[in-house]
């Protein structure tokens, strides 16, 4: 019985399919009793090769592919891609389109944060709160459907502008939705932040220090909850954000202190819902008249894209943080290089310091607390000479051995 090899740590694998996980990812926990001693994870379970497909399609088609990188932050990916292509081709986006883009992006943030709040409540076992947040979320989905025609995968952003205008009749619906949310925000803050159980479960749980947040290059609400003052809308404004007053929301504005724990991440996301409401209201009142796209005819747009050469980067503050698209075009129909870095890609590594030393029961809420989006992230593939493959562990090992031999010779 006293065999040393039978003692802790023992290994608990979770995933790739597990009731606690909403998306496929493989975790390996090294446990000591109830405590997580170390953790490793393997994303890449839902790799679909989107970049590879994109390099065989033209920018107008890719716009609809980027919508489907992620079903929750679709407009952020499309916007980042469109902005990169617009810079390469030199297309000037009309001002009205910039405002419409900002409005849709903020509605996306509202629905995404409410969705997250519900998932977080569910992970804590507070299902009545899940149902409450998802019920109020439906109103933003209705407005998004009214504005874009779709509930998810909006398909509103096109290279050079947007595909639909916002007409004055729609202002009333938007306004109604905003005032509902502003009225609800106090209630939601009260339900989440003053609840004894949520405080006990989330305070000082899954802590990510400011230094770790900076070292691991975390982005978005995950970084802001650790006290890092980053927000692309404030630091590198795009679309209409340059004209608007956007300040990064940090937890100490609300509570006077920063812990960098799960509780702070709830604070940041809920306050951002209120901020988004203000931004949309400001956009609506300041939206200039004019065209909503630089080039309405798709054939002409394609001809412009086909002639373009150069490279550019599109950066957008998605609900989960910075979303980054690199596009290189070489005067062909399809871009010659397209690289996507989704926000969750930057945030995933922060799981490791967060989970170390925590209890097994806290795993679901800590994993959910960074709002991971794995379908965004899973794109590890190597493309060379037109043929492509995914690197397996064996492949990587072989490459590593080859490099050592090269260096030795």
């Amino acid at each position: 019985m006293s065999d040393e090899s039978k003692k802790a740590p023992y290994i608990v694998p979770i995933g790739p399919n597990h009731p606690a996980l909403k998306e496929p990812v493989m975790f390996t926990f090294e446990m000591e009793g109830e405590m997580v001693r170390d953790v490793d994870f393997a994303p890449g379970q839902t790799h679909r090769g989107i970049e590879w497909m994109g390099m065989r399609r033209n920018p107008v088609q890719i716009v609809h592919l980027t919508d489907r990188i992620c079903g929750i932050c679709g407009v952020s990916h499309t916007l980042a891609f469109a902005r990169a292509v617009e810079q390469v081709t030199g297309i000037e986006v009309p001002e009205r389109a910039d405002y419409i883009r900002a409005i849709i992006a903020e509605f996306e943030r509202i629905q995404s944060h409410l969705l997250w709040a519900g998932v977080a409540a569910h992970e804590l076992g507070f299902d009545s709160l899940l149902h409450l947040t998802w019920r109020v979320r439906e109103q933003s989905m209705d407005v998004i459907e009214n504005l874009t025609g779709n509930r998810v995968n909006y398909g509103i952003v096109q290279v050079g502008g947007v595909r639909r205008d916002i007409v004055p009749e729609q202002h009333r619906i938007i306004e109604e939705c905003l005032s509902t949310y502003e009225g609800l925000l106090g209630k939601l803050l009260n339900l989440f932040l003053d609840d004894k159980t949520i405080t006990m479960r989330c305070r000082d749980c899954g802590v990510l220090s400011r230094k770790e947040a900076l070292d691991l290059c975390t982005v978005g609400p995950t970084a802001r909850a650790s006290g890092v003052n980053v927000d692309l809308r404030q630091d590198y404004p795009y679309a209409a954000y340059g004209d608007l007053e956007v300040k990064a929301i940090l937890p100490d504005q609300h509570l006077g202190e920063t812990h960098g724990d799960v509780y702070d991440r709830i604070v940041v996301r809920l306050l951002e819902v209120g901020q988004s409401c203000q931004i949309i209201r400001q956009c609506l009142s300041e939206m200039p008249a004019g065209p909503f796209t630089a080039e309405e005819k798709l054939a002409k747009l394609l001809a412009i894209c086909k002639k373009a050469t150069g490279e550019a980067i599109g950066r957008v503050e998605a609900p989960r943080g910075e979303c980054f698209h690199y596009v290189r075009m070489d005067g062909k129909e399809a871009p010659s290089t397209w690289k996507v870095k989704a926000s969750s890609y930057s945030n995933l590594m922060s799981w490791i310091p967060m989970l170390r030393g925590e209890q097994i029961a806290d795993i679901p809420i800590i994993v959910a607390s960074i709002d991971p989006c794995l379908s965004c992230t899973d794109r590890v593939a190597v493309v060379r000479d037109g043929s492509s493959r995914i690197l397996t562990k064996e492949n990587l090992h072989r490459l590593s051995v080859e490099k050592t031999r090269r260096l030795q010779s």
């Binding site: 998306e23 890449g44 790799h47 679909r48 090769g49 989107i50 609809h64 079903g71 995968n153 379908s375």
Partner: protein
């Protein structure tokens, strides 16, 4: 195969993500929340395939998930149904030419109900569940 009486009223569904973009996932969750509330008909999302009558498969089947999909399908107790949710599970959708796809869902496991849409609306998903219920009733009636 006969279904017992208690089966008539409650249909438990299990959700399997085979490489989806999350669009269908959030619409499935939206479908079980209060606006639509199918739980009043006994339709409930469960965490284990062993408890489930219906499996909802979303997404095209990517290479890594093929084996898992087959194993999860094998774990479900008979009689079982599979619902394929979303265009990419039906035909590949926008991902049709990807190198990492093991084909549409019905090339991997048998599918009973197809729900097109990218993603389908919650109403469409609930409509699909009703179709699945009708199919189970036919199985109960002795038809295969």
């Amino acid at each position: 195969m006969k279904l017992n009486a208690s089966f008539n009223r409650s249909l438990w569904v299990y959700h399997f993500n085979s490489g989806s973009c999350n669009g269908c996932e959030i619409e499935i969750v939206a479908a079980i929340t209060p606006r639509y509330d199918p739980e009043r008909f006994g339709i409930k999302l469960v965490g284990s395939p062993r408890h489930a009558d219906v499996m909802l498969v979303t997404g095209p089947v990517v290479h890594k998930m093929k084996d898992r999909l087959l194993r999860v399908y094998a774990q479900m107790a008979d009689p079982k149904l599979v619902m394929c949710i979303g265009t990419c599970g039906i035909s590949g959708g926008v991902f049709y030419d990807s190198y990492n796809l093991e084909g549409p869902v019905d090339e991997v496991i048998p599918v009973d109900v197809y729900i097109p849409g990218c993603p389908p609306r919650p109403e469409a998903i609930i409509h699909g569940v009703v179709k699945a219920l009708q199919k189970l009733e036919r199985i109960q009636g002795g038809e295969q």
